[in-house]
């Protein structure tokens, strides 16, 4: 007997526990990639159940299907074009009305579906009781109550899903009946539409055309331009009746119905006293206490990650260095041996000693906080400040990631709504001192001049981020978007989901960064073997010696720093023949060197991430800009510092 293949898509709002259900269903058989040609994440997994191989797709969390964002477009296209056997609409029972608004739109896509009414425990604690029977009856689809985080109801959900597919029940869910004046016009257009074959069902196409959906208008124009002008005319008529944009009218009516259904099926008893999660929300978003709490949380994360990371990084480094003799035995100490050890292996080691000790724990903690709901509170508190550089509160989260490593931070900017914002945020992030730069700041300035000077550099970095961010914001055309963000209730994170997300981020880092680190590392090794390091150092001397007032060999150190920033310090020690930098560098030279290293180029892995997100042109532009900026800054700093300070 051959196994039958089925496909099921999970669809719903953000933060409703979709990915937790996805994890319960698919376990370890998951694959996270990107939607073809898009920067949106695609989570796919398989499971075997009752002789079926079931493909599960976790669609992005969205609030609507009307193409405000790429996520919405991807979702509805997947449902309409790929036609999964079933859609499971995951719904947050504690915010039923808004979730039903999305359910009604899914129904308009005329796809077979069932509902997972999730977080019923949370709804209960808010005093909301929902009658499943009534909801099933009104919607005409099966509704399965679940508490995904505890795994409750997930098996029933799967069983029901397969049962539905086997029955192959002809779903003609009409969804919403709008007002007569709208229904009549929907009818006219859907009659016109049904003569040709469209991507979406005729009724849905008609409704979207009335709302001025750009994607569907484009498609309709190709098939029959008259439909678009007819829809435009009819939409104007509706606008005249209601004195409101047609899309607002339709959205309002849909929400009216969602609200009516919600009121019919739920009974609410307001709890006597506020729950713990409400108190927690109030204090963490408090206009005074919110900030010290945030500062304490952020600082303790940094402290924990860097203390732990430092130890682990050293241990790993020592462990791998122990392999060197083995490699030399196998490959000999000749050019091949040197290229393999000094190039390939050291590149890989460099990648591992940054990914495991710093990135993994950092991500783990941040995903934990995100899943709990705290990051959206931070975004709320920081929105105002981020606006000054043309971003909104949500960008603060990847920016924080940048302190660990710029690479995942740049990729993390996908949470921003527009490409312009992603570019702005990524640019700002490349200026954030990552773990590797922290090693230099603390190891050179902090250790040899004083920790207060290291702190000055951090503060200065913040000022630079702010200033350059603001300039970039003014320079890049386009309007800033505003923060429109749900702050869903605090909840206990699902550890397995958090761990998986961390794992996939690590995987992504390895895929993007490792190849370039290794290639770059081999290239630099080759230059070294060919004996042209010193000539290059000399070529750079007008910059390093004349302009920056540094020893000529620092040019070589800076070249190595492209691979990985803390290599500049390691190389400096090797080239100068000492780790006691106070003997060979003046305090001013140390500050200048550190300043330049902080800004002079995003490391090669970050450049790779930028290329992946925006293409070569923009990535190289950012790189070139930062080189010029850092060198100029270093020279200016040298002159100011020699004039004003006497360390």
């Amino acid at each position: 007997m051959t196994e039958r293949k089925l496909s099921i898509a999970l669809a719903g709002n953000a933060n409703v526990g979709k990915s937790v259900i996805f994890n319960h269903l698919t376990g370890l058989h998951q694959h996270i990639g990107n939607w073809p040609g898009k920067t949106v994440e695609k989570a796919e997994g398989t499971l075997h159940f009752k002789g079926y191989t079931i493909d599960i797709i976790d669609l992005p969390g969205i609030y609507s299907l009307s193409t405000f964002s790429i996520e919405e477009l991807i979702s509805r296209e997947y449902i309409a074009v790929e036609r999964p056997d079933l859609v499971i609409n995951v719904v947050d029972a504690s915010v039923l009305e808004r979730n039903l608004f999305f359910t009604l739109q899914l129904m308009e896509l005329e796809t077979p579906m069932i509902m997972a009414l999730n977080q019923i425990d949370m709804a209960k604690s808010k005093g909301i009781e929902i009658s499943i029977e009534k909801l099933e009856h009104i919607l005409g689809i099966p509704v399965i109550p679940t508490v995904a985080i505890k795994g409750v109801g997930v098996y029933d959900l799967l069983e029901k899903a397969v049962e539905m597919i086997e029955k192959a029940a002809d779903v003609k869910s009409s969804g919403v009946k709008y007002g007569n004046e709208i229904e009549r016009r929907i009818g006219i257009i859907s009659d016109m539409v049904s003569k040709a074959s469209y991507k979406y069902p005729p009724r849905y196409t008609a409704i979207q055309l009335l709302q001025g959906d750009e994607e569907i208008e484009r498609e309709a124009r190709k098939i029959d331009p008259e439909i678009v002008s007819a829809a435009d005319k009819l939409a104007k008529e509706i606008e005249e009746i209601h004195v409101q944009p047609c899309s607002t009218v339709i959205t309002s009516e849909r929400y009216e119905i969602a609200g009516r259904i919600a009121r019919k099926v739920q009974s609410i008893t307001t709890p006597m006293k506020p729950t713990l999660r409400e108190n927690l929300h109030d204090i963490t978003t408090h206009r005074i206490f919110g900030y010290p709490i945030m500062l304490a949380v952020v600082l303790s994360i940094f402290f924990a990650v860097f203390t732990f990371g430092n130890h682990l990084s050293e241990m790993l480094g020592e462990f791998f260095m122990g392999w060197q003799p083995i490699f030399e035995n196998v490959f000999g100490a000749g050019i091949t041996g040197e290229l393999i050890w000094g190039g390939v292996m050291e590149g890989i080691i460099a990648g591992i000693t940054i990914a495991l000790p710093y990135i993994a724990p950092f991500y783990l903690i941040l995903y934990f906080l995100e899943d709990s709901g705290y990051l959206s509170r931070i975004a709320f508190l920081m929105d105002n400040l981020m606006h000054k550089i043309g971003l909104h509160g949500k960008a603060f989260i990847p920016a924080m990631l940048g302190y660990g490593c710029n690479v995942p931070a740049c990729l993390g900017c996908r949470i921003m709504e527009t490409e312009r914002e992603r570019l702005l945020a990524d640019f700002v992030i490349t200026l954030v001192p990552c773990a590797a730069r922290t090693v230099i700041i603390l190891g050179l300035v902090g250790a040899f001049i004083g920790i207060q000077w290291a702190l000055v550099l951090y503060v200065f970095d913040l000022l630079v981020i702010f200033a350059l961010g603001r300039i970039a914001f003014k320079a890049i055309p386009g309007e800033p978007t505003a923060l429109i963000m749900e702050m869903s209730d605090y909840r206990i994170p699902h550890l397995r989901t958090v761990a998986k997300q961390t794992w996939f981020r690590l995987e992504e880092f390895v895929k993007i960064a490792f190849p370039l680190i290794v290639v770059g590392s081999v290239a630099v090794k080759l230059i070294e073997i060919l004996g042209i390091l010193e000539p290059i150092g000399n070529i750079l001397s007008p910059i390093t010696v004349t302009w920056l007032g540094l020893p000529a060999i620092t040019g070589i150190a800076l070249i190595f720093g492209v691979l990985r920033k803390e290599l500049t310090l390691i190389m400096l020690a090797t080239l100068l023949g000492t780790t006691d930098f106070a003997k060979v560098l003046t305090p001013v030279q140390m500050v200048v060197f550190t300043l330049v290293t902080m800004f002079y180029i995003p490391c090669i892995a970050t450049i790779a991430a930028l290329v992946k997100e925006f293409g070569w042109k923009k990535a190289l532009f950012i790189t070139a800009f930062e080189m010029i900026f850092a060198i100029s800054l270093g020279g200016v700093a040298l002159r100011i510092l020699t004039l004003t300070t006497h360390f």
């Binding site: 609030y63 508190l381 606006h387």
Partner: protein, 93 residues
């Protein structure tokens, strides 16, 4: 006369004090470039539940003219001040 009075009560969401409730009357998308960015905002706000006639509770705002925390249709939203200023409501007393 009466109509006038109700018009005078139409204020931007940001004019509400903490804990006050307003009923959405309109969303002014500003630059009036048809279905450009402004249209996207209005649609997005509509989709999040802010349709005309909806009751909105302003919970609080973040300091230094920060974003607003509002309750709408049982969900808690954070709205940037810039966008909140464009949402007009009728104050409920």
């Amino acid at each position: 006369m009466e109509k006038r009075a109700s018009e005078e009560l139409e204020v931007p969401l940001t004019a509400l004090r903490d804990g006050q409730i307003g009923k959405v009357t309109s969303i002014k998308t500003g630059h009036g470039r048809g279905r450009g960015r402004g249209w996207g905002f209005e649609k997005r706000l509509n989709d999040m539940g802010l349709t005309p006639g909806t009751r909105v509770t302003v919970v609080k705002s973040a300091p230094f003219h920060g974003p607003l925390e509002i309750l709408v249709r049982g969900s808690r939203l954070a709205l940037g001040r810039g966008i909140a200023e464009r949402i007009y409501v009728e104050m409920e007393r």
